[in-house]
Symmetry: C2
Subunit: 156 residues, 2 copies
C-alpha cells in the first residue's frame, strides 16, 4: 500500500469520532495522558468549520490525522500556521502518508496566505526532526550562529 491509497481530505463533522480515536491512539502510543474519545469527539466536532484550524485525515477509514492552527501575526500580512499534531497509524508508516498529509497542510496554508509554517519538535524525537528537515523545515533561527529556539510553557 502507498500513500495514494490514503487520499488526504478535510475532516467533516461525521468524521469527528474517527479523528478523536486517532488522537487518542496517538497519545496512548506515546504514553501521554489523553482525554477520553468522547471528549475528543466533541472537541473535533467544534473545530470542524472554524476558519482558524484545519483538521485533515488520510484514507477512509482514516489512518492519519493532522491538526493545524492559524493565528494572526504583526510581522506578516497573512496568518502564521502551526502544525499541532501529525499522527500516522504505526502499521502504515514509512509509506509517504505523513508526507502527503504535511504537503496537503502546506498547500492549504499557502492558499490562506500563510508564509510561515511552524512545528514544535521534541529534542529526542530525531526521526521527526529528520522528517521535518526533509520537508524544508529548520530549527535554526540565526544561520550565522546556528542558534535555535526553545519552546517554553507553563500551566495557568
Amino acid at each position: 500500500m502507498t500513500a495514494h491509497e490514503f487520499p488526504v481530505r478535510v475532516c467533516q463533522a461525521a468524521d469527528a469520532s474517527v479523528a478523536a480515536q486517532l488522537l487518542h491512539d496517538f497519545n496512548t502510543e506515546f504514553a501521554t495522558p489523553t482525554p477520553p474519545v468522547g471528549v475528543l469527539t466533541e472537541r473535533i466536532a467544534a473545530l470542524v468549520g472554524r476558519t482558524d484550524v484545519d483538521v485533515l485525515l488520510a484514507g477512509d477509514p482514516a489512518v492519519a490525522i493532522a491538526v493545524i492552527t492559524f493565528r494572526p501575526s504583526v510581522w506578516e500580512p497573512g496568518p502564521v500556521a502551526l502544525l499541532e499534531e501529525l499522527y500516522v497509524r504505526p502499521a502504515l508508516r514509512s509509506r509517504g502518508v505523513g508526507a502527503a498529509v504535511l504537503n496537503y497542510a502546506m498547500d492549504s496554508a499557502r492558499a490562506r496566505g500563510v508564509t510561515t509554517f511552524e512545528i514544535n519538535v521534541d529534542e529526542g524525537d530525531v526521526d521527526a526532526q529528520r522528517f521535518y528537515r526533509a520537508h524544508g523545515f529548520t530549527e535554526i533561527e540565526y544561520p550565522e550562529t546556528g542558534e535555535r529556539a526553545f519552546y517554553f510553557h507553563r500551566e495557568l
Copy 2:
C-alpha cells in the same frame, strides 16, 4: 520610576501607531528586518477588537508592548495562549514593567479559560530564559529526562 507608573492596559485603535513604533523599535534593537511603522500600524489596528489576540501596552505614552495569540486545542477545553512579542524600552528595563505586562497577560489568559501559556525563546537569550523561568515557565517537556522541544519553521 517603577512599574506602578506604567500601568498595563489593552491597546485601543487610537494606540495603533504607538504600538507599531514599539514593535518597529523592538526589531531595530535586535537587528531584525521590520515592516515600516505605517504597515505595522495597519496590522495592529486590524488586531484590536479581535477575540483571538491581546495587544497590551504599559504606560501612556506606552513604553512596553506584548502581543498574545489564542488558538483552539484538542487537548484542553480552553484555548492555548502564545506570547508572540514582549518588548520594554531599554531605558525602562529591570523595573518590573515586563513582569507587570506578563502577569497581566497571564491573568487575561486565565479569564479566557486558558490552561497552557507558551513562549518560544531563542537559545542564546539567557536573560529572557531566566525571566520566564522566574515566572513559572519551563522548557522541560519531560521532567524524567529533561528533554526540551525545539521550534522548527519554514517559509512557504
